[in-house]
């Protein structure tokens, strides 16, 4: 402790207080969703009179009401979302790391223009892409299938960019010596490059999973009832004359769980993965 001056301690205290405050700001809405999902609608919507901060016992009743909805099969939509997000994340990790490896370690014609055009697609908002992509997937005979949602963003430009930045760190000498030892190009990627990229891949996995998990407009337009993902299913609960907040809260609370698990599983890689490649030495 001797080396910590009073000043430093003061700054540290301020720093931690700030972090704590931000954390609270993040957690309160989530906590409130969970609490609200256990209360009858009237109890959490009655304007400010008595705010309930502790969970109640209405969770199962709200869940029953949600499951009784005709136009929404919520359990099915959890499965749809999980399947789509998991398959998408795995596929996209493979494609992005391959693409990133190519852009980082190979020389080929028009490399820079191609890379920057891929990067430029990041600026296109999804709303602009929905209709052309819908036409594309329906002409491929994929409409109303999981693949219609998985394939269009499988080669994710952000993912390719992140992987390229990180893979630039791999020393060329390492790859060269492996080549001399007779490794094929695929082995270079698979045996040499990938194992060093674990934390980047984990971080990217979280980003990709989140992206797919939250996708709304495209699944709404492409999928039919029964194939709906969670965000689309939740939006079904907004009726013309009535918004079913109790059911929405249950659905929202349940939809957090898979995200939570993914993050918990990959979190120790997350920060180091995002930071990797951000500093040039």
């Amino acid at each position: 402790m001797g080396s910590v001056t009073r000043d430093e301690a003061g700054w540290r205290f301020l720093g931690y207080s700030f972090v704590l405050l931000v954390t609270l700001l993040m957690i309160v809405p989530i906590y409130w969703i969970v609490v609200a999902s256990t209360l009858p609608e009237q109890a959490f919507l009655s304007a400010g009179t008595d705010v309930r901060l502790l969970p109640g016992s209405n969770f199962l009743a709200n869940l029953d009401a949600l499951q009784a909805r005709e136009s929404v099969d919520f359990v099915q939509s959890i499965w749809n979302s999980v399947f789509i997000a998991v398959v998408y994340t795995l596929l996209s990790l493979v494609l992005c790391s391959m693409g990133g490896f190519a852009f980082a370690k190979y020389e080929f014609k028009f490399k820079e223009p191609i890379f920057y055009s891929i990067l430029a697609t990041l600026t296109l908002p999804i709303q602009l892409l929905v209709i052309p992509l819908f036409l594309l997937v329906s002409q491929m005979g994929l409409s109303n299938s999981y693949w219609a949602i998985i394939l269009p963003w499988a080669a994710n430009p952000l993912g390719i960019f992140l992987m390229r930045q990180n893979m630039k760190q791999i020393p060329d000498a390492l790859l060269e010596s492996a080549r001399i030892d007779g490794a094929t190009e695929f082995q270079l990627y698979y045996r040499i490059a990938l194992p060093t990229m674990k934390s980047s891949l984990a971080a990217l996995a979280i980003v990709l999973f989140l992206f797919q998990w939250n996708l709304f407009l495209f699944p709404l337009v492409v999928l039919e009832q029964g194939k709906y993902t969670i965000p689309v299913a939740i939006n079904e609960l907004i009726g013309a004359q009535r918004v079913y907040y109790d059911q929405i809260m249950v659905a929202a609370a349940l939809s957090i769980i898979p995200l939570f698990l993914v993050f918990l599983f990959l979190q120790r890689h997350f920060v180091s993965g995002i930071l990797a490649g951000s500093v040039k030495e």
């Binding site: 609608e41 009237q42 919507l45 009655s46 304007a47 005709e70 136009s71 929905v130 209709i131 052309p132 819908f134 036409l135 329906s138 409409s143 407009l217 709404l220 337009v221 009832q225 689309v232 939006n235 079904e236 609960l237 907004i238 009726g239 013309a240 004359q241 009535r242 918004v243 907040y245």
Partner: protein, 396 residues
């Protein structure tokens, strides 16, 4: 004619279509599938599929307020020919056709209308000695409201929907938000009159400001601390579902007039059915055949009214004695007959692709007027200017 067709709709409207599905198939053959959606989901999905030219159902529900934007996509089928062939145009209340028509072509068949009434708590009115039957004008309405104690409001003006109230009152006076040449006309004398009337009601202290469709709104309607709600005929069904234990305590009256002898007919809400242009002629014919059966026959419209409270735009239905039946929820009052008398007198109205801008501008500027920040004249002027600026339209 194709053997099958799919129809999209939301909420009770979709359920109502489902009810007339069986009798249709019995009488006309064919196989109609009704798919039910959440409202905003259906709108986004239908519009995207219409724009992309593939994947749309044969027929779908469309609110009149969206008509201009949907017709503008170029993806709806012009059904004028079929309407003329069937000779049914004059069977529908005339106020419905305006929004569905562009350059002489009609793109939808009217379904329901929302003749406006003030739904009020008769028990509370009696308790405080209000003479609701004697009210004809806004002045009288406000005078009666002043008899109520401070914690009971005569009328709710929802801050999230000043636009809904304004539009209903504006239409009652025959106001049109756009001129024939498309100029913005919401700062007209008529619009100013409406704004002044809303402000007068507020300043008299007879109003509450609770967001519509919120649970507080329902609970205050249930406990009777909001005496009246201006709304379309369909509100009865909603009140029944949400505050069913107040059954028998409610009544309806026509919306107050601006002066003695003034018009007391206007509209809030209402839908139509459209056919997507991308479906084959054969499918479109099947869809039309079903639409004509569902929306343009007396029997089916009466069924929809009785089962789901959808008030027909199809006038021959009003001959049915279903409209003379006293409603238990309304203490035996034959509200249907009153609405049937209002419906044909609803003035026409126009919507454009820029209607959402009017909604936004009116909501925010009238909000500032109610809170005392702006005078009625300033509020309508600013709203009109704001719409004109954002849409490159001229001011009327």
């Amino acid at each position: 004619m194709a053997s099958d067709a799919t129809v999209w709709g939301w909420d009770v409207a979709a359920k109502a279509l489902d009810v007339v599905d069986d009798p249709y198939e019995e009488e006309h053959g064919g196989d109609i599938t009704v798919e039910q959606f959440g409202r905003s989901n259906m709108k986004d999905k239908f519009k995207s599929r219409v724009l992309s030219g593939s994947g749309a159902p044969a027929a779908a529900m469309m609110e009149s307020v969206d008509a201009a934007a949907w017709v503008d996509t170029g993806g709806l089928r012009d059904v004028s020919g079929w309407i003329e062939d069937a000779g049914i145009r004059s069977d529908f209340v005339s106020g419905k056709w305006g929004p569905l028509t562009k350059d002489g072509s009609t793109y939808a068949l009217p379904w329901d209308v929302g003749p406006v009434a003030a739904f009020y708590r008769n028990d509370v009115a009696e308790e405080h000695g209000l003479d609701m039957d004697g009210i004809e004008t806004w002045d009288q309405f406000i005078a009666e409201g002043e008899k109520l104690p401070d914690d009971v409001a005569m009328l709710n003006l929802p801050p999230n929907d000043y636009d809904g109230v304004w539009r209903m009152m504006f239409r009652q006076l025959g106001g049109l938000p756009f001129t024939d040449s498309g100029a913005v006309n919401i700062n007209s004398e008529t619009s100013l009159r409406v704004a002044r009337q809303m402000k007068a009601a507020h300043d008299a202290g007879i109003t509450s400001s609770v967001a519509s469709w919120s649970s507080e709104w329902f609970s205050r309607a249930g406990e009777g601390s909001i005496v009246s709600i201006l709304s379309g005929a369909w509100l009865e069904g909603t009140l029944k579902a949400e505050v069913g234990d107040t059954s028998g305590m409610w009544r309806v009256m026509r919306p107050p007039a601006y002066e003695s002898g003034g018009n007391r007919a206007t509209n809030w809400g209402g839908s139509n059915l459209v056919i997507a242009d991308q479906v084959s002629d054969a499918k479109a014919r099947r869809a039309w055949d079903y639409m004509q059966f569902a929306l343009g026959t007396k029997e089916q419209q009466v069924t929809m009214y009785e089962e789901y409270g959808l008030f027909p735009a199809y006038k021959p239905a009003y001959e049915s004695d279903a409209f003379d039946q006293g409603s238990e929820f309304l203490g035996g009052q034959a509200a249907g007959r009153m609405f049937a008398e209002i419906a044909p007198n609803i003035p026409t109205y126009n919507y454009t692709t820029d209607t959402p801008e009017i909604t936004k501008a009116i909501n925010s500027e009238l909000g500032r007027m109610i809170s005392g920040e702006l005078s009625p004249q300033e509020a309508v002027d600013r709203a009109a200017q704001q719409v004109a600026n954002r849409t490159n339209r001229d001011l009327a």
